[in-house]
């Protein structure tokens, strides 16, 4: 299969969507001048025209409400307002206009909106543009939240999000933007709401999503050398969550390590831990183990940017500890 970067795969999906459905509108910061943040929309304005590819002036909250109004009246907007911090100011619009309001009318309007948000550190984006915030959004009923972990997943999940009639927040890990991987050239909408077994193993179950999948994958390879065969699960969908896939694995291994680069309180992994405790506690041979981000702000300096996130060595030693049972 040919290889391309996450950004190139994203651009292909946007082209497929704009060419395939005249209702699709790409709305984003700088999508015209510089081709979108990180160049995922280069040339699209020229190809599809100013009504289909719209540059937004300096607005924050209103654009989410505007997208809600557009989606309720027949358009299918894709909002590219990276980084994710942009969406924090629009929480009322997301909670009320995207999620609650369409459910109140007798005819229950669909709300086909894709929100693309960049998450996590990378390129020294600094403390105010490197956050994760996945749990804040995953808490809201009706919002689908997905976290691609590779260029292939990025292409497939974005295509599925665009085809979906519900609002979908695609959290694109900044660290993966320039990463290269094998990606099919033709459009392929991936499934949106299931986790995937990324590597089969028997000794323990390791669960991660987004950026942490790649880090965990390297840890799994190191653990192979220590004769610990870990099963790696990529959650993919954070809302809805897919505890069944995880529980099926835990039933087999009896041990689970949850790896997350967001703060640990009220997080995706705290919810998953609760699901495992509720539904699978009898399968467990050891307490649920967790690695989360530390509570400090994400630093600007490249020397410290990743300091608060679980690293490969942290995952390896947590896995060893889990196997020893101490």
């Amino acid at each position: 299969m040919r290889e391309c970067t996450y950004i190139e795969a994203t651009r292909e999906t946007l082209i497929d969507a704009l060419a395939g459905d005249p209702r699709t509108v790409l709305i984003g910061a700088d999508v015209c001048g510089m081709g979108g943040r990180y160049q995922s929309a280069v040339g699209l304005r020229e190809r599809f025209g100013p009504l289909r590819v719209r540059d937004v002036p300096m607005v924050g909250r209103a654009i989410v409400g505007v997208a809600a109004g557009a989606a309720a009246n027949g358009a299918r907007p894709i909002l590219d307002l990276t980084p994710i911090e942009t969406w924090l100011g629009a929480l009322p619009e997301i909670a009320h206009l995207l999620l609650i309001a369409p459910k109140l009318c007798g005819e229950r309007r669909s709300m086909p909106i894709v929100l693309r948000g960049l998450v996590g550190p990378g390129y020294s984006s600094g403390p105010f543009q490197s956050g994760h915030y996945h749990p804040l959004f995953a808490h809201l009923p009706g919002l689908r939240v997905v976290a691609p972990s590779s260029p292939t997943e990025g292409k497939g999940m974005l295509a599925a999000a665009i085809a979906c009639d519900d609002p979908v927040l695609v959290l694109e890990p900044r660290r993966l933007l320039g990463e290269t991987g094998p990606v099919p050239e033709s459009p392929f909408p991936a499934t949106l709401d299931r986790a995937a077994v990324a590597r089969v193993g028997e000794a323990l179950t390791m669960v991660a999503y987004g950026t942490m999948v790649g880090v965990a994958r390297r840890a799994v390879e190191t653990l192979d050398g220590l004769s610990i065969r870990a099963e790696l699960i990529d959650l993919r969908s954070l809302a809805p969550l897919d505890p069944e896939t995880v529980i099926a694995s835990v039933a087999k291994t009896g041990r689970v390590l949850l790896v997350d680069d967001t703060f640990g309180r009220c997080s995706i992994m705290s919810e998953l831990a609760a699901q495992i405790a509720v539904h699978a506690i009898d399968y467990l041979d050891a307490p649920i183990a967790r690695l989360d981000a530390s509570d400090r702000p994400i630093a600007f300096s490249p020397a410290l940017e990743w300091a608060g996130m679980p690293a490969e060595r942290d995952i390896v030693s947590a896995a060893e500890q889990l196997m020893r049972g101490d």
């Binding site: 505007v66 009246n73 309001a101 009318c105 969550l241």
Partner: protein, 326 residues
């Protein structure tokens, strides 16, 4: 800027009067219903502002989209929402236009092109700008209209939305009902026209008119809707009027609804009745006859709504998304 003077036909004036009277009697009934305990939660009356809703909606087609405020009863009636469904919604009953789930501040009835009320100051503007984005993208000649109050005209999202409307040259008409209050406070600088200031700032053409004179609102909205429908971009119309009732009826006003507006207030309904009698050959017996007919219509709606059943969880569509979150 003032709109060009229009000569209104007698038939047009009669039809405007009938709609204003319908809103007046419905609002009076609803205020009474609140104090009789029939309306759960707060209720925001638009008594005194009838000319604005009627003068604007007269120019709209059924498939044009109207977004009202939390004082949206008049907007809804003027746009053709069924009065019984409206009353039942406000009483929290199953036969309401949103099955009693949304209530007086948030209801919608999209089939009649009343796409939503209230939610928060300024949301009507965001949603209307979004609807206009959809109409423009899909090549439709539909028009979106947002009603907004003094509070919304001072909100951040209003400026953001107006900016987008101007930047994208959208088919949207923003109707600022300057009723001199923002919430429970007198609107700061109410005489200076904040929406008009935004209009000038973003170079959106607009009018400032006497919102109690329905013929002035009619003339301004005629130009605004035509301007938008012809693809010339947004317009803003500021209508100076007065809110007769408190912010919410739950503020326990001392003035009974029969007393009408404050002593020195011009009653838009009386203004039009005088014009009909003085210049258009109407006689007071005829006006009294209309009043009798409309009172009966309002009474019938009230009774049907009050005897509508309470909604039950079994018909609760709003909950049907929950199973997605296992």
């Amino acid at each position: 800027m003032k709109p060009a003077k229009l000569v209104l036909l007698t038939d047009t004036l009669r039809s405007l009067y009938e709609q204003m009277l319908r809103i007046r009697r419905a609002e009076e009934r609803l205020v009474k219903s609140f104090h009789e305990g029939l309306i759960p939660g707060p209720f925001h009356s638009s008594l005194g502002q009838e000319a604005v809703a009627v003068g604007v909606c007269h120019h709209l087609r059924a498939d044009d989209a109207v977004f009202g405020t939390h004082r949206g009863q008049g907007h809804a009636i003027a746009k053709g929402v069924d009065m019984t469904a409206l009353f039942a919604e406000i009483y929290g009953r199953e036969d309401g236009c949103c099955g009693g789930r949304a209530g007086p501040s948030f209801f919608a009835s999209p089939r009649q092109g009343f796409v939503g009320a209230g939610i928060a100051p300024g949301t009507s503007v965001q949603l209307a700008v979004g609807a206009a984005t959809a109409f423009q993208t899909l090549g439709s000649d539909q028009v979106a209209v947002a009603f907004l109050g003094d509070g919304a005209a001072r909100s951040g999202t209003f400026f953001e939305s107006a900016h987008l409307a101007a930047d994208w040259k959208l088919p949207v008409v923003l109707i600022c009902e300057r009723n001199q209050f923002a919430g429970r406070r007198a609107a700061q600088g109410a005489g200076s026209g904040p929406a008009g200031a935004a209009a000038r700032y973003f170079e959106i053409p607009g009018f400032e008119v006497d919102g109690n004179d329905v013929t002035m609102v009619y003339a301004a909205a005629f130009e605004g809707v035509r301007h938008a429908r012809e693809g010339k971009g947004p317009m803003i119309v500021e209508c100076a009027t007065l809110r007769w009732r408190p912010f919410s009826e739950s503020d326990m006003p001392s003035r009974p609804v029969e007393a009408g507006g404050p002593a020195d207030t011009i009653d838009p309904l009386v203004m039009l009745a005088d014009r009909l009698v003085d210049h258009h050959g109407a006689v007071s017996a005829e006006l009294a006859e209309w009043d009798k007919r409309i009172r009966k219509e309002v009474d019938d709606s009230h009774r049907a709504a009050a005897s509508s059943p309470w909604p039950s969880a079994a018909t609760d569509e709003a909950d049907s998304g929950d199973d997605r979150h296992a």
